[in-house]
């Protein structure tokens, strides 16, 4: 009997094995997937020329609350909180975070101040550390600093405010500005903010060359290495790729970090014990040829480990574009002319780079090349500083000065009585706050209790808090320039290599069906504190006309782009009478259409042999953490996907899997994720550069683009410009709109700056629509935060402005002084 049972079991096992093998062998997904022609016609843009100089700025500010005494003897304290993550540093040359900037903004003031305007519906620009608005003096520099005859808007003269002084009463003169900039660009210090005057919109002549002074700089490649080599460029391998920085060659020389991929010097890889074994000796050339070149196993990592090099020309301080004219006048000479200068010059000079020389010098520490402390800067290879890290090491020249600082606990500011603004008669109706206190509290629940107990004057709310406080009269909503979206990996080979079936993400209809299955309004209301449902890449924060404050999202071009994308029509014979009606009705949610598309996607996937039609499919959704909100969001996505699959061949076969990955952005950059949440945004005052900075810069992980595998260089975008069809890649259009030179488009259209703001919106809307039409990303909501403000204070306005917020601390007024507030809180009547 035993024998019989054994034989039956053995036969069963054998049959199972055969059947399993048969199943495995039955279907092998295709090696590649053809996405079809990638051509998109975005419609028409009408060209209208730009106006002269851009426009005029408002110079009349809000006068302050009528009847309010800003100079009484009572004490008014404003108490805020900050997260204070891992230290704070308010050195103007090295600051990093918003928290740092909060401190900096109290104790410094810019050349120009942006204040709430008289009608409280925008901003006014007024000189502060400058005595007047900038004057174009380009003609005085013809033949110097690269300025050619006839050029304008490249050299600017700033008259300095003669009343400005440090908190100890010492006058601030042109010499302070010159010294401070020299320190900001100090090559031995390599200050984190040194790039402020060469990497942004305002590029001082030779600032970068002075900083790097002949040093070689390496930049990650932005083109295929083979193309670079063909163009005669040198390509370098970061030897960290193989862990071989410092490995020795046969003569005992250590490997540099960056070595040319043509260099065949062999270095001993000590991780291979046997010196005679294969790969015990490797060269940059060997590593490139065998691992990173086209077709090699780690080709996808090329963009992370291959570099091009360039050598900064080097410049002396005299060649840098900052000049002292007299004690109270300086000139800025720029590499590029400033467009719409009446706005953008003050905007770029809304801060300064000033540091107080005696203290700055005292805060320096000098090291030689081996990190050994040395006595002076001349002997040093590197110089570090702890300027602006304590009360004693800080000097103010703004409305407030630091009076107390306790690391990771508290910062207090008192009035800086030597600030000119308290005596010049030009700042009446401002600054009622006597003491500004920042408490460092990291836990939001603690912050909320402290707020409810009257200890702090504002608190950020979470989604969970909204149930209680959404209808409070003290709630304020602060929009942010970020859009949160879902980004899909569409690199077929990467997805296929997972073996989970997630390669179906390459099917356009699948992604579109997924997008249509998501109800953004429900999502934003359920899982965010104050986020607003969003369908565009750029939200309502982006101002396309800085002179009028008009926003891109509210422009007809931007509205039409989204309405057309979601298939709504307007006008005669359309679904809606007007564009606005259609726009307001648009939700992006259509489950029926999603189900139909899912059927198409299934048929397409099976026909293309990328899916066998029966196997389970697991799509990995990477999130930052497994906190409740992420779990709820993930559950929503999974539920909606399941619903969309109902009735299609995918029903019961597709599922999402949540994976926690704190480095999910980096994972995504190397194509290691299927789907992730991404949040991007740029400067709200510069919408035209956002597309090429955030969304189309590089599809292979070397840029900021999060849609891995979506090559915008392969998308042919046609825009009908004044009746003429012009076609270029989505990548090129995006660059051109972002004011990067694209010869083919420059030739036909000139530069973006030649056209009116409305025309620029048209181009931007065209590329946004094109990008979204491939559904490699699905916008979910526009970021917005909600907070409660204390009954103690009033903001100047309820309308949030991109630049001046609710009016800022300058115009914050008080209903209670400190003593009265303490009494009121003690009475127990404080309720929100």
């Amino acid at each position: 009997m035993r024998k019989v049972v054994s034989i039956i079991l053995a036969l069963t096992m054998a049959l199972s094995c055969v059947s399993a093998l048969a199943e495995t062998a039955a279907f092998t997904p295709a090696d590649s997937y053809d996405v079809g022609e990638r051509a998109f016609n975005a419609g028409e843009v009408v060209l209208t020329p730009a106006g002269e100089g851009g426009g005029t700025i408002n110079t009349v500010r809000y006068a302050g609350e009528e009847g309010k005494d800003y100079t009484d003897e009572k004490v008014y304290t404003l108490v805020d909180t900050l997260g204070g993550t891992n230290g704070m540093d308010w050195n103007p040359h090295t600051w990093e975070t918003n928290d740092d900037n909060t401190v900096l903004s109290m104790m410094t003031i810019g050349f120009y101040g942006f204040y709430l305007n008289e009608n409280k519906d925008g901003y006014a620009i007024l000189p502060e550390m400058a005595a007047d608005y900038p004057v174009d003096v380009t003609s005085e520099y013809v033949g110097q600093f690269g300025v050619a005859e006839g050029e304008t808007a490249k050299a600017w003269r700033i008259a300095l405010n003669p009343d400005a002084c440090w908190e100890n009463g010492e006058k601030i003169t042109a010499d302070d500005y010159i010294y401070s900039m020299q320190q900001q660009l100090n090559p031995k210090m390599l200050n984190r903010r040194a790039d402020s005057y060469y990497a942004g919109d305002m590029v001082l002549v030779n600032a970068k060359n002075y900083l790097y002074a002949g040093k070689t700089t390496y930049d990650l490649i932005t083109e295929a290495p083979a193309d670079l080599l063909a163009a005669g460029e040198k390509v370098y391998l970061d030897m960290d790729f193989w862990g071989c920085v410092g490995a020795l060659d046969a003569e005992g020389n250590a490997a540099e970090k960056y070595i040319s991929i043509n260099d065949d010097t062999m270095y001993r890889d000590t991780s291979v014990k046997d010196e005679t074994a294969d790969e015990a000796w490797v060269s940059a050339k060997y590593l490139y040829d065998n691992y990173l070149a086209a077709g090699a196993p780690y080709e996808a990592y090329a963009s992370q480990y291959l570099y091009t090099a360039s050598i900064a020309e080097g410049a002396t301080w005299d060649e840098v574009g900052l000049k002292k004219i007299d004690d109270y006048t300086i000139d800025l000479i720029l590499e590029r002319p400033v467009q719409e200068a009446t706005f953008y010059m003050p905007y770029n000079l809304s801060g300064t780079w000033l540091v107080y020389k005696p203290l700055y010098e005292a805060c320096k520490t000098f090291y030689d090349a081996d990190g050994k402390a040395v006595d002076n800067e001349e002997a040093a290879a590197t110089v570090s500083t702890d300027y602006c890290t304590t009360v004693e090491k800080s000097v103010s020249y703004g409305p407030y000065k630091i009076s107390y600082f306790e690391m990771d606990k508290q910062i207090k500011f008192d009035r800086n009585e030597n600030w000119y603004g308290y005596h010049d008669g030009k700042h009446l109706g401002m600054y009622q706050t006597d003491i500004y206190q920042i408490n460092i509290i990291k836990e939001q629940a603690t912050e909320l209790m402290a707020f409810l107990a009257g200890e702090i004057d504002s608190v950020g709310l979470t989604a969970a808090d909204m149930a209680t406080y959404a209808s409070s009269q003290y709630i304020k909503y602060t929009p942010q320039s970020y859009t949160t979206k879902v980004s899909f990996n569409t690199d077929y080979e990467k997805l296929l290599s997972r073996g989970t079936g997630s390669q179906i993400l390459v099917v356009d209809e699948f992604r579109k069906a997924f997008a249509l299955a998501l109800d953004r309004a429900e999502f934003a209301a359920s899982y965010t504190a104050a986020g607003a449902a969003g369908l565009g890449l750029l939200n309502y924060m982006y101002v396309y006309n800085p002179f009028t404050g008009e926003t891109y999202r509210d422009s007809d071009y931007a509205k039409a782009g989204l309405v057309e994308l979601y298939g709504l029509t307007w006008g005669e014979g359309g679904d809606y009478a007007t564009l606005d009606e259609a726009y307001d009705a648009m939700t992006g949610y259509d489950m029926d259409a999603a189900k139909e598309l899912m059927k198409v996607a299934y048929d397409k996937a099976v026909a293309a042999q990328i899916y066998d039609g029966t196997s389970p499919i697991e799509i990995e959704f990477r999130v930052y953490s497994n906190d409740t909100t992420y779990v709820q969001m993930f559950t929503y996505f999974d539920t909606q996907l399941q619903k969309a699959c109902e009735g299609s061949g995918f029903e019961g076969k597709v599922s999402l899997k949540m994976t926690v990955d704190p480095d999910y952005y980096e994972t995504n950059y190397s194509g290691g994720a299927d789907v992730i949440f991404t949040t991007w945004g740029g400067s709200a005052m510069a919408p035209f550069g956002v597309m090429n900075q955030c969304y189309t810069d590089a599809y292979d992980g070397s840029g900021n683009q999060m849609e891995y595998g979506f090559n915008t260089e392969e998308i042919a975008l046609t825009i009908v410009v004044n009746g003429e069809e012009i076609t270029a890649s989505l990548h090129d259009w995006s660059d051109w709109v972002g004011s990067t030179d694209v010869p083919a488009l420059d030739e036909k259209l000139g530069v973006m700056g030649d056209y009116s703001y409305e025309t620029r919106c048209g181009f931007l809307a065209a590329i946004e629509k094109c990008f979204l039409s491939y559904y490699t990303t699905t916008p979910m909501y526009y970021r917005q935060s909600a907070s409660l403000i204390s009954q103690k204070i009033n903001y100047a306005t309820d309308r949030y402005d991109n630049i001046v917020g609710f009016g800022g601390m300058e115009f914050t007024t008080y209903n209670y002084d400190d003593a009265a507030w303490a009494e009121y809180v003690a009475s127990g009547e404080l309720k929100y």
Binding site: A199, K208, Y212, D370, Y404, I440, E443, T446, Q693, N704
Partner: protein, 319 residues
């Protein structure tokens, strides 16, 4: 004994060196945090890293790391956190808060835990013992941050007995009554678990000791119950309990990330994890050395303490 202690100390430094070397090499083998900042010059960060010697061979970096410490007691400056600040200064600034809150909590928790444990052992299997044991299970099972929220909500927010957060040094000196009062909610939150742990250990040890033959002998010799317990039972029970108490002291230096965040205590609770997450080499190494040293040193202290509690235990004796 002296020879034994010297030998242990030498071994401790050897172990410390090995651990430091391993940690240095391992953290340096991890790739540096990626640099992606829109509109910023990435080369600037790369150049700074080059300047800080991050691109030198690891062993060269290790040598320079040691050289700075030995010649100038320089543990470097922060790169990814507390940028530009001396690592040593940051630690020294933040350590007192962590030590003080935890020290207070243990100083209060130890007598409480011992008393409750002794009481429960003496009332073994009676309702008092059951009540204490039940509470012990509750307090051991529930994480301290749960108490922290409850304590903060009830005693600080609702009843207003204590401030919601730690006072700043601007309002109260570190050793003032006002500061102690503001620390008390955190002390309570940290102490519940220690009290529960000590109570359980003391009860268990004492219960066992109390049933020993020598306790019967002691009573037969004419000692009162109290004398027998204090002179014989407790002393024997302490052989197990004392190392646990010393162990708690070691734990205090680690701090508590969540408790410190809840009560806004500027301690070192989250420094170590942050230094690993953001890959700040200098902070990571300084903290590794700090914690490893404390751990190794306390191991020696615990071992030596056995000899003091129980003279029968001889350290390093060959007899």
């Amino acid at each position: 004994m002296t020879k034994y202690v010297i030998k242990r100390i030498l071994l401790m430094f050897l172990t410390l060196f090995v651990i430091m070397t391993m940690c240095f090499v391992l953290i340096k083998l991890l790739p540096l945090p990626a640099v992606r900042e829109m509109g910023r010059d990435v080369n600037l960060i790369m150049a700074k890293r080059e300047q800080m010697g991050y691109n030198k061979p690891i062993m060269v970096q290790y040598f320079l790391f040691w050289k700075s410490i030995v010649t100038a007691w320089d543990w470097g400056v922060g790169e990814q956190m507390y940028e530009g600040l001396s690592v040593w200064n940051v630690l020294i600034n933040k350590l007192p808060y962590t030590v003080l809150v935890n020290l207070y909590s243990i100083l209060i928790a130890i007598p409480l835990g011992l008393m409750l444990g002794i009481y429960a052992a003496l009332k073994k299997n009676r309702w008092q013992d059951h009540l204490i044991s039940t509470l012990v299970v509750v307090f051991i099972s529930v994480p301290s941050y749960v108490y922290a929220f409850l304590v903060q909500y009830l005693f600080c927010f609702r009843l207003g007995w204590f401030p919601l957060t730690l006072e700043s040094l601007d309002n109260a000196s570190l050793f003032s009554a006002k500061m102690f009062r503001s620390m008390f909610p955190a002390i309570m939150s940290l102490g519940f678990g220690v009290v529960a742990g000590l109570t359980r250990y003391t009860r268990a040890e004492l219960s066992e000791v109390l049933t020993g033959d020598y306790m019967l002998l002691a009573r037969t010799k004419g000692l009162t119950k109290a004398q027998a317990i204090s002179r014989h039972a407790l002393r024997n029970a302490m052989v197990v309990i004392l190392p646990m108490i010393i162990g708690e002291f070691i734990g205090i230096l680690g701090g508590s990330l969540i408790i410190e965040n809840i009560f806004a205590i500027p301690g070192i609770g989250n420094l170590y994890i942050s230094s690993i997450n953001v890959r700040d080499y200098n902070f990571f190494m300084a903290l590794t050395v700090f914690y490893t040293f404390i751990g190794l040193a306390s191991g020696i202290i615990i071992d030596i303490s056995y000899g003091f509690i129980d003279p029968r235990i001889r350290m390093g004796s060959k007899k």
